[in-house]
């Protein structure tokens, strides 16, 4: 009985410590540093004009962009910025470019405050930039993959978790100006 008691005590302490660390990670605004985002080694995508940095000035979002894949139905995510689904078109090309990120305060936590009409800027590795205009925002279930479907226009679809226990996805759709 003594060993069982110890096991539960240590397990409880471990769970609480891990939960506290993740909570700290979730809300700590100083966790990310963007001072070196312009360094070439941070460029993961190998295209000539790959997206490097995404900003939404109206909600104070400014994050580096990292390439990501879907492997065995698992979406790669980064804790350092915004993930760009490399299988989707490069932002600014015709079609639907998919970008997503955690809803942590230092990442896309403020995305839920964007409104249609506000601007999204994407900087590229060739120092060019493109501006997008948010035309839709909505909240969907995680199973609603219709938002990922390719479109005839030139758009980016940006999403993050929202809702009770992150059970929903907040989606912002922006088209090229």
């Amino acid at each position: 009985m003594h060993y069982i008691s110890r096991f539960f005590t240590y397990l409880g302490i471990l769970c609480i410590l891990l939960g506290a660390f993740l909570t700290y990670q979730h809300f700590n605004p100083a966790l990310l540093s963007f001072t070196d985002f312009e360094k070439p080694q941070k460029v993961v995508i190998q295209h000539s004009a790959s997206p490097l940095y995404l900003s939404i000035p109206s909600v104070h979002i400014g994050l580096p962009i990292y390439a990501a894949h879907i492997i065995n139905n698992q979406w790669e995510t980064t804790t350092l910025g915004v993930s760009y689904l490399i299988d989707s078109p490069i932002p600014g090309q015709r079609g639907n470019s998919i970008l997503y990120g955690h809803n942590w305060q230092v990442l896309l936590g403020n995305l839920v405050y964007v409104k249609p009409g506000e601007k999204v800027n994407v900087l590229f590795s060739d120092h060019s930039s493109k501006q997008f205009n948010i035309i839709y925002t909505t909240i969907v279930n995680p199973t609603d993959v219709s938002i990922l479907t390719q479109s005839r226009d030139t758009r980016i679809t940006l999403y993050t978790c929202t809702g009770f226990l992150d059970s929903k996805r907040f989606v912002a759709v922006a088209t090229l100006e």
């Binding site: 009985m1 003594h2 069982i4 008691s5 096991f7 539960f8 005590t9 240590y10 397990l11 409880g12 302490i13 471990l14 769970c15 609480i16 891990l18 939960g19 993740l22 979730h26 879907i70 492997i71 139905n73 979406w75 995510t77 993930s83 689904l85 299988d87 989707s88 078109p89 639907n96 997503y100 990120g101 955690h102 809803n103 409104k115 249609p116 009409g117 035309i135 839709y136 925002t137 909505t138 969907v140 995680p142 199973t143 609603d144 993959v145 219709s146 938002i147 990922l148 479907t149 390719q150 479109s151 999403y159 993050t160 978790c161 929202t162 226990l165 992150d166 996805r169 989606v171 759709v173």
Partner: protein, 220 residues
């Protein structure tokens, strides 16, 4: 002691088994932010709203999906409040299915012809979104309400044009990631971009384990 062990077992069993909830199956409707096809009908004007007695001014797009049984309407009011209405003809649904869907928030419409649909009973589901509107809306606030098929008239009833089929019917490709190099059929959901659920589970499990540990310590 036995009670405590039973509680611990119950707690962890509940954690493992959560997630499966019964729901009547409904067709997949593409989201209005990416409807994936051209609208069968589009018009600007004053529109009626199913489940709401007010009238609204804005842009209305109607998409006829794979069959007469499903129609999707995307209404964007001039104030930027959007409402997606999913229409489902009740043909083929049992009374129990209808009851379940109504309990889930679907609105039962006894006669679809009042909204430009076939003269059959329909269920309608309203989902809010935000869009770029024009001038201020007329007649009320759209937020939290839903809309139905409309005819641009202020009576809230349809002229029947909105259900006219076109060549785009059946071209909806929901559930796929077209153009992606990965197998589109394998994409079953969106990325998990939050960990609140995990953190909450950890903290609750931690507290529960600590309490269990202390209680077991007292047991001789």
């Amino acid at each position: 002691m036995k009670v405590l062990l039973a509680l611990i077992t119950l707690f962890f069993t509940t954690l493992l088994l959560t997630g499966s909830v019964f729901a009547a199956s409904t067709p997949v409707y593409p989201n209005c932010v990416n409807p994936q096809t051209s609208p069968n009908v589009e018009n600007d004007g004053i529109h009626g709203i199913v489940g709401n007695s007010n009238t609204f001014s804005g842009n209305d797009k109607v998409y006829k999906l794979s069959s007469n049984h499903t129609v999707e309407q995307c209404f964007c009011a001039n104030n930027g409040a959007g409402i997606q209405t999913n229409w489902l003809e009740t043909t083929g649904l049992s009374q129990d299915d209808i009851k379940v869907l109504v309990s889930q928030g679907w609105i039962f419409v006894p006669d679809g012809s009042a909204w430009g649909l076939d003269p059959n009973p329909y269920l309608a589901q309203n989902i809010s979104y935000a869009c770029i509107g024009g001038s201020a809306s007329i007649g009320g606030n759209v937020s939290g309400a839903g809309d139905g098929l409309s005819d641009g008239k202020s009576d809230g009833k349809s002229d029947g044009k909105s259900s006219t089929p076109s060549n785009s019917v059946g071209q909806v490709l929901s559930g796929q990631v077209l153009g992606a190099s990965t197998d589109p059929g394998q994409v079953l959901g969106l990325a998990f971009t939050g960990n609140t659920q995990f953190i909450t589970g950890l903290l609750i499990s931690g507290l529960f384990s600590l309490v269990a540990g202390f209680m077991l310590k007292k047991v001789k």
